[in-house]
Amino acid sequence: MRKLAANAWNWLDERFHVQQELEVNVTKKQVPRTLSWAGCFGGLALLTFIVQLFTGTLLLMYYKPTPDAAWDSVMFIKSNVPMGWLVQRIHAVAANVMIALVLMHMARVAYFKIYRKPRELHWVSGVCLLALTLGLAFSGYLLPWTQLSYWGAMVGTEIPGGVPFIGQAIVLWLRRGESITGETLGFFFSMHVWILPATIIAFMGMHFVMIRRTGISRPL
């Protein structure tokens, strides 16, 4: 068994040099000795995002994004699907944890002035990632279609109304009409499960490529 696994690994390694890549990028990658645990927040935020992708995919099997069925389908997941309550809870709690970790990561970068040259664009892409994370949280909040989520979306979509001149147009665009309806639910759903995750993954890719390029910042 062990020999078979070793052979398969060698076969793969011979063709793609996986071992070498792993050593260079993961197992033997050097980080500054003085790097503290606070340097983990960004990576942990990525981990929670992966948890969200995973649990979200599972929830998608039963969730129905229509006003008639949304609440019932969430209740079905929580009470009838085996371990559904756990998956749904993890998805809801990890969303909050992800926001907390993103903010902690940002606070550290700001405090240690890591955003300075040559890492200005890391900061810019990071701010975009924060906005996308908040967008994901906000769009997901409406999906259970409870009173809380309905009024949460109502208040939240009202906020851009304060923008001069185009504020009302943004509110209408976000709500897909005057008020929160089934169309809003469908729009938020597509945002939540595809458009925002795809965008956030693209921005994460840029963020990670850039940090590999410049290397992690040394403490002051």
Binding site: L58, Y62, P67, D72, V81, P82, G84, L86, Q147
Partner: protein, 142 residues
């Protein structure tokens, strides 16, 4: 195990412990996922709900659970009616008003008559009727 490990049992001990923890973690993640992919439990409400017609008093509505939904059973002009009491606005449970013979929604004040038709409030759709049968003077919601 390499020759290094043989000389250093502590290293082997650490490896075994780490491997064990890894396996436990994998099981803790794997079990809920595999379970989730299994068949969901169907609602126990597959059993039909029976209400004897004699129990239906004029001007009163009986709330019963059928198929995981709450329905109201009442009579209108002697004819039995079964309505889904989930408000067609945002799904709150409407409450039967015995004095006025209407359903009132506690959330946004929608009012429906005894047959579920809209009287007033932020709704356009009537309450959904629920199919039922009557056998031997017993109303059955299945």
């Amino acid at each position: 195990m390499t020759s290094d490990d043989a000389r250093d049992p502590r290293r082997t001990f650490c490896k075994v412990c780490l491997g064990g923890m890894g396996l436990c973690s994998a099981a803790a993640v794997g079990y809920p996922v595999v379970a989730f992919l299994g068949f969901p439990r169907r609602l126990s409400g597959d059993k039909p709900v029976e209400v004897p017609l004699a129990e239906l008093l004029p001007g009163q509505a009986q709330y019963v659970s059928a198929q995981g939904k709450t329905v109201a059973v009442l009579t209108v002009g002697g004819e039995p009616v079964v309505l889904n009491v989930s408000c067609t606005h945002l799904g709150c449970t409407v409450i039967w008003d015995t004095a006025d013979h209407v359903f009132r929604c506690p959330c946004h004040g929608a009012i429906f008559d005894a047959e579920g038709q809209v009287v007033s409030g932020p709704v356009s759709q009537p309450l959904k009727t629920v199919p039922f049968t009557v056998e031997d003077d017993v109303l059955i919601v299945s």
